[in-house]
Amino acid sequence: MPTSNDLPPQTRGLTAIAGAMSLIVILLIVQIWLLSAALESFLSGKLHTALPAAVFSGVMFLICLGLYAFVDRIDSEVRGSGNGR
Amino acid sequence: MFGYEFYVDPSRCIGCRSCLQACEECATHRGKSMINFDFIERKESISSAAYVCWHCDEPTCAQVCPADAIKKGEDGIVHSSLKPRCIACNNCVLACPFGIPKMMIPEQQMMKCDMCYDRTSIGKRPMCATVCPSQALSYVRPEEIAYRREKPTNIFYFGSQKITTKVYMMAPAEREAIALDVVDYMWEENHDLVATRE
């Protein structure tokens, strides 16, 4: 049965990048919500929510950064194999 | 694509110019053929040679284009310049080691052989290969070209620069690559013009 490994490397790379990008978008949406919730609780006087919100936002940003590094690695791998023609 | 490759054998060219005529009929450049037609030592012989774009793996024309107008597709075909981007600077015309790109002054665009992409992308032969009576330009499967005495090669050396192409040149069997030293082909003052272009 044909598997995804039978596709040319360029198509596989594009699929991997599309997956990574959708994950980044989801994380971004969560971060937007977290920022607005943190601001709202700060303005209403609950100062204790600021620290956990900042910590989780930082964790999500680091995950986004890792996903970008993954995209970059896939990109240079596929470019390398394509240029060998 | 579709298992076919393009083979050029200048020794078979009989100078009938059918390829020029056929290429001219394409609507995008009607009246102007994209074939490079040469006479070789015209003073001494009637030899002629017809060339198409060699569709290099690392196209020099694309690399020197300042407007990023020349693109190579996934099937290896190097296309004519993109009309919105081409600034008619002639960089590609000067850079191509084979001398293929043509600058169309009225259209202000570089055009060249694109292997009749509207035909080859659906499995048909390019016009020139279809009409060539001696099959100096042929678009066949590698098994059919194996019957010939000459062997195809797609490696060229221009001085120390190595160029690999998609289009094959038929060469003597023992030759693995075609090396050209430009200095060999420069003529001194007492020579007449030895090669002309149509």
């Binding site: 990008m21 920022l35 470019r79 | -």
Partner: protein, 167 residues
Amino acid sequence: MTWLRRGSSEPLWKEEFPVRTADERYVTRRQLTKFLVLTSLGMFVGNIWILIRSIFYKAPIYGHQPVAQLGEIPVGGVKLFSYPSKDDHCILIRTAEDEYVGYSQKCTHLSCAVYYSQAENRLECPCHKGFFSIKDGAVLQGPPSWPLPRIVLEARGEQLVAIEVKG
């Protein structure tokens, strides 16, 4: 972001303007991914800003302002006043002979002016039927999510003085 690029033999301009059409799609996707990660960084910086502001937050200092004379209003009566500024409208209610309570008049739902209902002994908002307890301003019913801010009152001689806002 050069430190993020894998060791590449190609110069940057060659990577950003590829000759192959297939590679061009990669450039666009990579640039979009970069931009999204930058947006994520922006969100994180926003959260850090909130954190810094919460660390340096100073509770506001309220002035003392006389709002009424003792005995000025009858039991079950109300008086409107402004505290701490003239734009902060408040309501004073005498709930018993010696008991006075003060609240901000701004309903915590959408800022309509609340009024005192003697029959039900509670503060009511006419806009969306939000009801607040007279004892501590807690929400009894309706759309408001937070209790009414309470004005802390102090009796000084014959005067009722507002000294701070709680909540």
